[in-house]
């Protein structure tokens, strides 16, 4: 399941929406808007997307991960618009019966999300300047 959202992501609420009695293992990835650029003062990150293609590609990622690993649930929520520092920009939750292969499934999911979804982020600095950012792999 995949969603693009404009409002803050509540990971506890998202977990509640997918949890099942048969899941003995649930893994979370929380991608957080951060102020870690060299000598800079980031106020927020702003996310933009080619939404129709993001949804299409995210569904392909879900099919690929579920086809490769014994994943019960894969939930991906990506926020768009302004995301202040320390708020969630990306949430990935994997639910499964057991932990075997789940760390690998989570890492591959996050990697695919960052490499393949047509989403772009811009740093908004406290002095009002802006800068498009690149992902580092």
């Amino acid at each position: 399941m995949f969603r693009l959202v404009a409002d803050p992501i509540n990971f506890q609420q998202e977990y509640t929406s997918i949890k099942k009695p048969e899941y003995g293992c649930v893994l979370f990835f929380l991608g957080i808007s951060r102020n870690a650029l060299e000598d800079s003062s980031v106020k927020a990150l702003e996310y933009f997307a080619y939404e129709e293609m993001v949804i299409k590609k995210a569904n392909e990622i879900e099919l690929k991960i579920k086809g490769k690993y014994p994943v019960g649930e894969l939930l991906i929520v990506h926020r768009l618009g302004l995301v202040p520092v320390m708020e969630l920009s990306l949430l990935v939750i994997i639910g499964s019966g057991h932990r075997l292969q789940m760390f690998e499934a989570l890492e591959e999911s996050v990697d695919l999300i960052k490499r393949e979804l047509p989403i772009w982020k811009k740093a908004i600095y406290k002095n009002g300047e802006t800068e498009w950012l690149n992902n580092h792999f």
């Binding site: 991608g31 996310y47 933009f48 997307a49 080619y50 129709e52 293609m53 299409k56 990506h78 920009s89 990306l90 996050v110 999300i113 960052k114 490499r115 393949e116 979804l117 047509p118 989403i119 772009w120 982020k121 811009k122 498009w132 950012l133 690149n134 992902n135």
Partner: protein
């Protein structure tokens, strides 16, 4: 035939528009269209050099012909997550 072109991220900043339409002749290819975009936005050359061009949300060979109503998106390197 009419082709819609979408600009995203840094490319949208370079063009100051999110989309535009090109009216081109039949048998026009994706490579032809890319040439038009380079010609219309010379100031965006550095960004265009690292962009991918997708047709109707799918990666396509540049030699492929375009069709009436196709949507071509100009995608700078992505940075989601």
């Amino acid at each position: 035939m009419k082709i819609k072109v979408l600009f995203f991220g840094p490319m949208k900043d370079c063009t100051n528009i999110s989309s535009r339409e090109y009216d081109v002749h039949e048998s026009f290819t994706l490579a032809n269209l890319i040439g038009f975009v380079y010609a219309d936005y010379p100031e965006a050359k550095d960004v265009l050099d690292v962009c991918a061009f997708v047709v109707n949300q799918e990666f396509s060979e540049e030699s492929n012909p375009l069709h009436e109503g196709d949507e071509v998106a100009v995608l700078p390197p992505v940075s989601g997550g």
